[in-house]
Amino acid sequence: MKLAHDRFGEGAPLLLVHGIGSHRKVWRLVLDRLAAERDVIAIDLPGFGDSAPLPGDTVTPAQLAAAVAAFLDDIGLDRVDVAGNSLGGWVGFELAAAGRATSVTGLGAAGLYTDSPSRSGVRRLVASRRLARAARPALPRLLRSRAVRTRSFRDQCVHAADLPYAIALEAASAYGACPGFESVLRGSLSGPFSRGAEITVPVTAAYGDDDRIIPRSARIRSMLPAHTTWLTFADCGHVPMWDDPDLVASTILKTGTDG
């Protein structure tokens, strides 16, 4: 399985998995900190960034995890520490349940809902996707305005006003361009993560205190094993890597070494 990825640093391997509509560059602000201690592999999931989509109208996080496992086979890695944001956190849980992770850090992780996922969160995602697509030719010009950046990214992070132009532009462009958005959204809505009981490795589940995409009702603790460490990041949104890179990096590194 071919997946676009960046690889930096030396040490125990650490796999970084982005969220829906995002891409591997979302880790930009934490990469240096992580690569100082680890062999960091940041991937584009199938259908996002520079990776080709999986076939089908509906692509579940479990299918994405199977593709990532095949990618790990290709680069000769059996088990890795995994950190994932949003949908990427869910993919991390699936990898752990499949025995391919030595630890998992979920940051604003999706999948921990019961009957139906957050409607308002999904609505926000779909609205942003539509706007990013419609405004795509104008994004380089539009996002130069701090007001636009603030408004566009307020659902993703608390400090949207301080998000650098380059990061905002690459994130919005990726969001509007990815072919995998609709099929993966459908797959994510078709049923929650259900293999929590099979996870034996260390798990950290962290949520920003202002996460507007995954509400508290979609962070059901019983869906992850009892040994899970639950954290709340102060002054952070759904993409805490943009709000507090230091805190995110230290949390990820800690998950890998504890337990």
Partner: protein, 259 residues
């Protein structure tokens, strides 16, 4: 699904957007006077004329703008001069906020509500007229058809165009969802409109009352034009004024067009 459109003429692209219950043919009398100077694109908004409705019970100007942006994408046009009447004016503002407008000319435009809603009296009047015309449609349509064929029509309208307008007002699937969304959603992104903007109102407009022409919703550089004695249908009643206003507004952004 991409909205239907007609395209004629040569020059910088100029998009004409009709109002609620209207259809592209609303512009029939103006188009021949614009094709010498512009590449004129006349759209049927989703849910009106030949365009399929958006699958939602509530449709806002922004939703319509996103659909129109999709049509521009299909035509490989990044940005256009936009002329919108009534609802179409509200859609034009949203296209501007999406970075897809070179200039905007709003003719009795929607969305500049004094509060969060259009005045209730206007909304009820629109709703009532629509209900009456759609209920009477089975009986009335043959007579309307006869009338459009044999009676003298005002404003340079042809029988075909008049019948298309009647059909849209009395039978368009987009009418109710759009009425619901547009009258309850003001335009709030005035600070994103960095392009030249002109707003034209007739002093006898009974659909968009003076309280719903809130100047604060558009940027300070907006040119406001009042046409004495004109009603809501300014594009029909003041054709020469409108053509001149289009040339003046687009000329301020486009070199080589100065008529």
């Amino acid at each position: 699904m991409t909205p239907a459109y007609e395209r004629s003429g040569a020059g910088p692209p100029l998009l004409l957007i009709h109002g609620l219950g209207g259809v592209g043919r609303y512009w029939d009398a103006l188009v021949p006077r614009l094709t010498e100077a512009y590449d004129v694109i006349v759209v049927d908004l989703p849910g009106f004329g030949r365009s399929a409705p958006l699958p939602a019970p509530v449709v806002t100007s922004r939703d319509l703008a996103v659909a129109v942006a999709g049509m521009l994408d299909a035509l490989a046009i990044a940005d256009v001069h936009v002329v919108g009447h009534s609802l179409g004016g509200g859609v034009a503002f949203e296209l501007g906020a999406l970075g897809r407008a070179r200039t905007i000319i709003g003719l009795a435009p929607a969305g500049l509500w004094g509060g969060e809603h259009q005045a209730t009296v206007s909304r009820l009047r629109l709703q009532t007229t629509h209900i009456v015309t759609s209920l009477s449609r089975p009986v009335a349509r043959p007579f309307v058809k006869l009338a459009t064929r044999y009676a003298p029509l005002p404003h340079g309208l042809t029988g075909d165009a008049a019948l298309a307008l009647y059909d849209s007002y009395s039978g368009a699937p987009g009418f109710d969802p759009v009425l619901r969304g547009v009258t309850a959603t003001p335009f709030t992104d005035g600070d994103l409109l960095t392009m030249p903007v002109t707003a034209v109102f007739g002093t006898k407009d009974r659909v968009i009352l003076s309280g719903d022409r809130n100047r604060d919703r558009l940027p300070a550089h907006t040119r406001w034009v009042e046409l004495r004695g004109a009603s809501h249908n300014v594009p029909w009643e003041r054709r020469s004024d409108i053509i001149r206003t289009i040339h003046e507004t687009t000329g301020s952004a486009e070199t080589g067009v100065s008529r």
